[in-house]
Subunit: 402 residues, 4 copies
């Protein structure tokens, strides 16, 4: 019942993407556990991407002249839910994080040269990228604290620093690096800049793919620790203006949170389907399916309620961003970030409990989501930070300055 958000474009597009995900992408998931992701990128995922291009559903976030479909954020949100149904969905359509954020960033702020060199092949899916901001020594929830510096030396920046959660660095062609360009600067929010670093730069030291929740992963599906050691890049690799790093990071996050939230709702719907389906067929005793148990019914009803609530909130937020810009929707963006992440937590937990022993195995996709989406309450700002933002703005109306 989200027809208030439906559009002619979506009416034609969504069923095609949905069919593509279910018929073409989902069957490939079973390989996920047997094959490295980086190898899949070359094989199965490469083929699926070609098919997606042929189907005309490639890169739905891009404008038509950039080779995409040209969707509003509210429309793309609805696509993102459908893609989120499979952990491979976004990748196959080339709208996976962090590449989608980097595309948007470069589209808006990169020079023509940088666009030619980095953006266009990225949009075509010929290369991948990563985003290098978080540092192990500082709490990610406070992005103004970082030790990585980019010091000018002639016509180059010399970057030194230590990063982790540089997700997808393994196999990426370049990193967008956040570094302090004005160490003496008095304004915490204008000290840092975003700079492009090719990963074949000798100063880019790949340390490891961090093992996350039991898996090191590879390729797009990995989270690297990286060191920048006297890493020299041309001044021209700067994205936007010097000192605009935090502004750009902030801008990047608004739509990014819509993407994540709608992807999570897609996960929720898949988990919900699996929960209902398993409850319907698995018997506790002869002719006593799990579905006949009141607690399973309660979980199903609560999940349905919470998923619906989450979807409405996110789509209204996306609609508001389309209409009034992300800045006007700052509170709503923080609200959905923690609200949906917690719905995701509950729905996955219930789906696993219904599956019993099977639920903790990797024979279903639930385990992977349960593990890797634990991060949803942490990345892009933990729940507590977003709750603070919401409270701060609400309390401001009562004269409180937080």
């Amino acid at each position: 019942m989200t027809d208030l958000f439906s559009t002619d474009k979506l009416k034609s597009l969504l069923p095609r993407i949905q069919a593509f995900i279910r018929e073409e992408v989902v069957p490939v998931e079973k390989i996920l556990h047997a094959k490295s992701f980086i190898q899949m990128e070359k094989d199965e995922l490469h083929q699926l991407r070609q098919k997606a291009k042929k189907e005309g559903i490639w890169a739905p976030h891009l404008s038509e002249q950039e080779g995409g479909v040209g969707l509003s954020l509210s429309e793309f949100g609805q696509v993102s839910e459908v893609l989120g149904y499979s952990p491979l969905g976004h990748f196959v359509l080339n709208c996976q994080a962090p590449d989608i954020g980097n595309m948007e960033l470069l589209h808006k702020y990169a020079s023509k040269e940088l666009k030619d060199k980095y953006l266009h092949p990225l949009q075509q899916g010929e290369i991948r990228s990563c985003f290098s901001m978080t540092e192990p020594e500082f709490a990610g929830s406070n992005p103004t604290r970082m030790a990585t510096t980019a010091i000018k030396d002639g016509n180059e920046y010399v970057i030194n620093g230590h990063k982790w959660f540089t997700s997808s660095a393994d196999g990426a062609s370049f990193a967008v690096v956040m570094a302090v360009t004005d160490p003496e600067g008095t304004h915490a929010h204008s000290k840092a800049s975003m700079i492009i670093v090719p990963t074949d730069n000798t100063g880019f030291k790949f340390v490891r793919n961090i093992s996350i929740m039991g898996e090191e992963g590879s390729g797009h599906s990995s989270h690297a620790e990286v060191r920048y050691e006297n890493c020299r890049v041309p001044l021209a690799n700067l994205v936007g203006e010097e000192g605009s790093g935090f502004k750009l990071a902030q801008e990047r996050l608004g739509p990014g949170r819509i993407h994540h939230c709608m992807r999570w709702i897609g996960i929720c719907e898949r988990a919900f389907e699996m929960m209902c389906s398993y409850a319907a067929k698995r018997e506790l005793a002869e002719n006593v399916p799990i579905a006949s148990k009141q607690i399973a019914q309660q979980w199903i009803a609560q999940s349905r309620a919470e998923i619906n609530a989450a979807r409405y909130m996110v789509l209204h937020t996306a609609y508001g961003i389309d209409k009034n810009g992300a800045a006007a929707m700052r509170v709503e963006i923080s609200t959905i970030k923690f609200f949906v992440a917690n719905v995701l937590k509950e729905v996955l937990d219930r789906a696993i409990q219904v599956h019993g022993g099977l639920g903790i195995t990797d024979d279903t996709i639930l385990s992977s989501w349960y593990r890797h989406e634990r991060a949803a309450r942490i990345y892009d700002g933990p729940d507590e930070v977003h709750q603070y933002v919401v409270a701060r703005e609400e309390l401001r109306k009562y004269g409180v300055k937080l």
Copy 2:
């Protein structure tokens, strides 16, 4: 950000009602604890009703030809939220339960004679009514079980039975009584009928206003126990067809749940305002307002998220009912019933905790809501019944018959 549900009518109407509630109605609340409700009906509330008529905001649920404003359910829902800001709001505009439900019922199903006698004065606010369905001997969650009978004798029904939660009976002019007219009937859902009983009928035995959460109440604000003892009324007092009692009750409940849910959201917004306002001004130590505490901030943020979620769900449901009818939205109606009732629970509890000792006194309105809206998870179907309905419909898609 619910502008998708805004209409020209609302743009002019809502601010006027909002101003009326805050300026005219809220100040009267302070009398609530000192004066009986039934006396207030004659004094302050009577005056407020006259003002509401003058303001042209009277009975906003009625069509214009019936003296109302002519709103869709989605529009009325938004009015209901604004009215819910005060516990007196609905009454002052004559759209309080159970009268609003009875008006709708009689409007649709009563004969011209019954309309003239009962509906029209009810619409004018000249009389009040009550609805007599629940019986102490049977669980209200299963409405097909009842012992009250209405047996035909000549051109009369003879009603015998025992009811409670016949809310607002004290001072009401008539009751709509649910009684079994076909005791031998094989179909549980077509055994009962709705019949109008004037409260001055000698067979209508008012037993007591049940003390609910510390208050017996009076007038509109009461919940009676009633016995029907050889209570004779003309056959013409039947509403709709014989045997249609459950059908009509069901029909009555759909929009009724929208009304309740939106009223609860109005309560939530008031409690939220009170929580923020008190947190802003109450100091734990010098210059340390409660608002500076992270847990208070978390409660504020969670409440904001949950209230927004609740409102979106209810308005989308109302919109769906406007468009496709209540039957098409059965699952959504059950979903909002338990979801919003639980949001209400949490928001009130947090608001009280922020108020500390003050929160449990009757010096604020929070205590009254905390007490009387405990019923929200019980009346019109307890949470567990609505969760069952949602699960049943979801599981039906997987071949499960519950």
Copy 3:
């Protein structure tokens, strides 16, 4: 299975008290709603107190030479649970708050003259008392902030101030008043003292019994607002040393929290019995008792688990206080305060939900507990303060000073 805490004394005493409560006290509860408490004190409760004296179960907290039974805190805790089964239990045995705390205070710190005048008749149940600390203008969670002063003038204190939650003041013979005796004092914790004020003093201005959760109450069962206006009492009315007010208040609270917690567990057990009993007999359909529903079963199981957990924690804490003193158990005392208060909340809520409509009426005792024990998470330190205390002490081990 708390036999580790059983003693010979309890083995003989507990069954007698239990029988007394169930057979003599519980039947009187039905009058509670019809008669003022202050009148019941003169009639039914007076008679029950005489019976209790005859039974040799009077004032079980007092030593044998004071006319009591002479129990350790761990033993008295177990008695307190049994008394908590009825809201009248503690009163009938004269170990109700705030009198029990005042008795302990005067026993330890009052002069012989004050003991003769106030303590002995209090122990005999001939008079009642109140405790006057909380002020409406200051958050009760920070007890060092208060505006009431007691200024020496000749051989008298002149007390001026505004108090509320001076519980049981209505009908009490004297108040123990906390007032600042050293307004210029630099140490917040040694500025105040406890002073006895007879309620017939002309400077003791009884303002009102505050309506709490729908009831003003009366007598012992009330919470007064009081003003002290040039209230003169002899210097000899000082309890303990000047400036020792906070120390004594703190000391008073340690065992007081054991008493409350065990009383709450008594309430929980009664609510649990009612929940099981009603679930067993109330049918949702023919031969389908509520007890057959899985969610009701879950509530019963969760309640059983939580009540057991609560009891073990409190008894171990009481045992620790008996052995090592209250100061050594500060963390445990804060732990049980918030833990048990939250168990109480959940158990009462579930019991009400099982009772459906009946649960919100005052036809059962659940409504009264639901309303009045909402305060359990607020009085004697709200949850958040006790959680802070526990965290502060745990984190101290890691070098954090909070």
Copy 4:
């Protein structure tokens, strides 16, 4: 403050085991991610086991004449908590599941020949074993449903069936297999028997180590799928009497749940330490450690309360089993099973949230517990089954037969 459960034996033993775990075992944990478990069994763990034997802390569950320490269940529970501090603890002292359960089973019910061949080398840590009960085709929550049969043929059983969650089968020397020996039997509870199958039997078909939460594991740390295909073993391999399978399984589970629960409490204490320690040192801004945030403080306080509650409940239950036997404590055993599993869930979740990004990496041990102990609410009976058991027994007192 569990000194009521302390004994002279524990006073000497516990500090030694605690020191051993912290000094010898914990440092080995860092290898866990780099090396297969089955290899560690031969290297580091083998050496640690030799040290444990020298320290006289080996196999603390065994009687002294069997080479153990001779502890009551209540004593062993306290040891189990200390061992649970490290995921390697129980294995190093040879009291890991499922071997500890098999030792107890064979000790009580195996013939002298079986004891010589299987029990004694198991007690010495020379071999490992597994327990083969759960079948993928049947819900584990109803153990009477299984398809595996053991049909007599001459002096052999011929076993056919399909099992999974045959934990530790990889590298084990024998399996205790639950199989139906009386397929025509009318009593569901006496149809099955326990039979020893050496894993080098040609009918024992090892299928795979099931990938669980991201890891296939190996050796003791694995969960196998196994097929029995015309697997012939001597009739003498029967453990106990024919048809006693369920009875023995039930018996095995009572103390087993104490072991698990106390191990979980050990995990909780480690996670709690990590949470406090990280909160103390990790700064959100300069001189603003996480520990200064109220929500972190609340998590610490709630965790302390819940862990204490859990420990008291389990130790009282163990004490009751020691005194009155497991049958008398059936309700308590079910109570702790679901209560402690849920405490574990909450404490781990909070510890991870405090750790932020680090918490989801495998750089700390939290991730592994978060993943693998998700099973705690499922294995040995899911929460819902244990809640049913508790409710059934409580409701029996009110005449309800479930």
